[in-house]
């Protein structure tokens, strides 16, 4: 009897924790959401997934969807595991998805070869393969507002503007995975042209909460600035270790995945002064965010545990991911004259994507991000970043938009794209006029 009771309870718990949405591409706009609400990176994955889902739900509640067609968002849990990510892709691709946003460079790299075959675009917003910014080589991949390479160039530009970068030593601490290694080729190239030296500190995934050695090496190397390409628990641990060796936090800059509220919350006041890049607005002072609160959060249809989570860095980032996809859907509907579109139509929408300042204002997101304009050639969109600083309890924007060094980065991206496709004779490219 006791055994049956336990088994019954377990079954109820399991059933309750699964959210199954029956989706049909015939009468709706189907958007799969590859989430990680569980596992070691759930602290970052959860707010992103909430912001993503809440924006689409808000459009459904406020506007009746996009162009009068309801949006169906179906979550599939990846646990930030590339294999599970591919399983999620395979299990949802038959339902007529319009695009995938995996929130994982590892999963993105797996999906890039599949996108052209299945004719489903991948939108890896500010992550994934930097070279995918070259539209001719990667017709089905989009990574605006900027790539990792562009972001790194903007961070270096910021350092240069503060005290000059020539002759300085830059420490680069990174998650020793595809994501963390992605900007290293550019860092090495720019170190030569800009005249700085680099000290690299790789952190293995299983060591991300055990960084004493890495920071002993930082103390030994004495870099002038530290840049971090971290994720999950690696971020808070690194900042605590930096405090421990008394590294000046106003010379420590995280990339846009190393500057969330979940990263700095456990650090608290000790993290005051730490800097991070960002491209999505902070807080709730945007009409679009207020609409989410009104139509979704207050209506009890959000998965946020507390209303205060709305407006956090990664919540707003997830919301922005949804904004971009929603705008691309609208553009595709306009271009094709169809209400219910396909992945191929979506690619057209993403390629003609134009998020001007005027459009941002119409959307209730004035000042939320720099304008983005994609094209057949440019799948990066020419976005910008800004720098934010932790004041001990919250993030504050401390710079205006910083444009990447496009003149330096773009030729390198084109070279990298050429190298990527060079040994793939079946690779489908496109010609842009």
């Amino acid at each position: 009897m006791f055994k049956k009771l336990i088994l019954g309870a377990a079954a109820i718990v399991a059933a309750g924790s699964m959210q199954v949405t029956t989706a049909s591409a015939e009468d709706s706009l189907y958007i799969p959401s590859l989430t990680y609400r569980t596992g070691p990176y759930a602290g970052n994955g959860t707010p992103f997934a909430n912001g993503y889902a809440d924006y689409f739900n808000m459009l459904n509640a406020r506007d009746g969807g996009i162009g009068g067609v309801k949006i169906v968002v179906e979550e599939c849990e990846t646990g930030y595991n590339s294999q599970k990510g591919v399983e999620c892709y395979e299990s949802t691709k038959g339902k007529g998805p319009l695009a995938y946003s995996p929130l994982s460079t590892g999963i993105t790299l797996q999906l890039i070869p599949k996108a052209a075959v299945d004719k489903i675009p991948v939108f890896s917003m500010g992550y994934g393969l930097s070279a995918a910014a070259v539209g001719e080589s990667f017709p089905w991949i989009f990574n605006y507002p900027t790539t990792y390479w562009s972001q790194l160039s903007a961070i270096l530009k910021y350092i240069d503007s503060k005290e000059g970068i020539k002759g300085k030593k830059i420490g680069f601490i990174y998650l020793d995975a595809g994501y963390g290694k992605e900007p290293i080729p550019l860092l090495d190239k720019l170190s030569e042209s800009m005249g700085f030296t680099v000290a690299k500190f790789p952190v293995a995934g299983k060591e991300m909460q055990n960084q004493a050695s890495h920071w002993l090496n930082v103390r030994k190397e004495r870099p002038d600035w530290m840049i971090m390409w971290g994720w999950g628990a690696m971020n808070s641990t690194a900042i605590k270790e930096a405090v421990k060796i008394r590294f000046p936090l106003d010379h420590f800059i995280g990339n846009w995945w190393s500057g969330g509220d979940a990263d700095l919350g456990p650090v608290g006041k000790a993290g005051k002064g730490y800097l991070a890049a960002n491209f999505s607005g902070l807080g709730t002072d945007f009409p679009a965010v207020q609409d989410i609160i009104k139509h979704v959060v207050d209506a009890g249809n959000s998965l946020v545990k507390d209303k205060s989570e709305v407006g956090h860095v990664l919540y707003n980032r997830g919301m922005f991911n949804a904004v971009v996809l929603a705008e691309a859907i609208a553009a595709a509907q306009k271009a094709t004259g169809k209400k219910v579109i396909t992945g191929e139509d979506m690619r057209v929408g993403l390629e003609s994507f134009d998020l001007s300042e005027a459009r941002l204002k119409e959307l209730g997101l004035e000042g939320f991000t720099a304008p983005i304009k994609a094209s057949c050639k440019d799948h990066e969109g020419g976005g910008s970043i800004f720098i934010q600083q932790w004041n001990g309890s919250a993030w504050e924007k401390v710079t205006d938009s910083i444009t990447p060094m496009t003149d330096v980065v773009r030729p390198l991206l084109e070279e990298a794209a050429k190298n990527y496709v060079a040994d793939k004779p079946e690779w489908k490219t496109q010609t842009c006029s």
Partner: protein
């Protein structure tokens, strides 16, 4: 020639040139070693009682620490939250014994091992359902644990000692001493050794296997809680902490799966060894080497003592 210089000469030149930094490296190695020992201790306790590698030890660290900080976040005063977290670990131990272990008496070790894998996944899912996946801050100050640091001017340089690291060393030492006395000087401790040798034989002489298992899992839960508090203070309290538990593996290989002193000595050897190698030799291999170097140390020891430093030598006569 340059390579030989970088391997055999340069690291020692660096040590001599910056002795304050060498002391810092040794201190960090000591603190890491103590924490690794604490992690390994949880595994050793259960292995001694059941001959099983407890795959769920990592998630027990997370579960106990999350219980503590979540209770505090719910408004429970810190010390009462600590007491309640201990009670939760006690309840978990009794539940595991009743629901899982009791039905597996005298089964093969691999069956028990598989049961701990199942238990681990259940606790991950159950924990995420209750506590959510967001990282939380450890309530270090609220528990009266010291924060801040003391700096010593030494050898024309500085040595920084974090107060929380000193506290971790003291707490770990006390915990180890108490457990060592409990399991070596008490009736339960002797029962534990009997159970480890043969379940059925222990039962036949009147030792309560169920009681011993519940006590050992509870002790292991307390060690998990102490580990969670210390590691949580260094980083944050999240499900990523379960990965840290893997650091116990090379310690166990080195120290032996059944020895409390082995866990301590093994932890310290790994702690000192990996820090020194990472800082002075790691650069030659691109850095980030301590993860696998711990296993290299363990394997070198295994070549000479396959049962580990303090492990029991098993002789089976045909």
């Amino acid at each position: 020639m340059e390579l030989l210089y970088n391997i055999f000469i340069d690291p020692f030149v660096q040590m001599g040139a910056m002795p304050d930094f060498l002391l810092q490296v040794l201190w960090e190695g000591f603190v890491s070693g103590i924490l690794y020992a604490l992690l390994a201790l949880g595994f050793v306790l259960i292995f001694k009682a059941s001959g099983v590698f407890n795959f769920a030890q990592g998630i027990m660290v997370v579960f106990s620490a999350l219980s503590l900080v979540s209770l505090y976040a719910a408004g429970v005063p810190a010390y009462i939250a600590l007491a309640l977290a201990i009670l939760i670990m006690a309840a978990l131990a009794v539940t595991i014994e009743r629901v899982v272990l009791r039905h597996l008496v005298n089964q093969d070790d691999i069956i028990l091992f598989m049961a701990t894998i199942g238990l681990s996944y259940f606790l991950i899912g159950f924990g995420e359902l209750i506590f959510g996946g967001e990282p939380k801050a450890m309530i270090t100050e609220e528990l009266g644990l010291p924060t801040g640091s003391t700096t010593f001017d030494i050898f024309d340089g500085i040595l920084i000692l974090q107060h929380i690291d000193i506290a971790a060393a003291v707490i770990a030492a006390i915990l180890v001493a108490v457990l060592a006395i409990f399991f070596s000087k008490t009736r339960i401790g002797r029962g534990l050794r009997a159970v480890a040798d043969d379940h059925q034989a222990a039962l036949s002489v009147g030792i309560s296997l169920n009681q011993i298992w519940a006590i050992v899992w509870f002790a292991s839960g307390i060690v998990a809680l102490a580990t969670g508090i210390m590691w949580g203070a260094k980083s944050d309290v999240s499900f990523a902490l379960q990965i840290v538990a893997l650091k116990a593996l090379p310690v166990l290989i080195l120290g032996g799966f059944t020895s409390v002193p082995g866990a301590i000595v093994g932890g310290l050897i790994i702690g000192f060894g990996e820090k020194l190698f990472e800082v002075y030799w790691g650069g030659l291999l691109g850095g980030g080497v301590e993860g696998w170097f711990a296993y290299v140390i363990a394997l070198i020891f295994l070549l000479f003592r396959p049962q580990g430093l303090f492990g029991e030598k098993i002789i089976e006569r045909v």
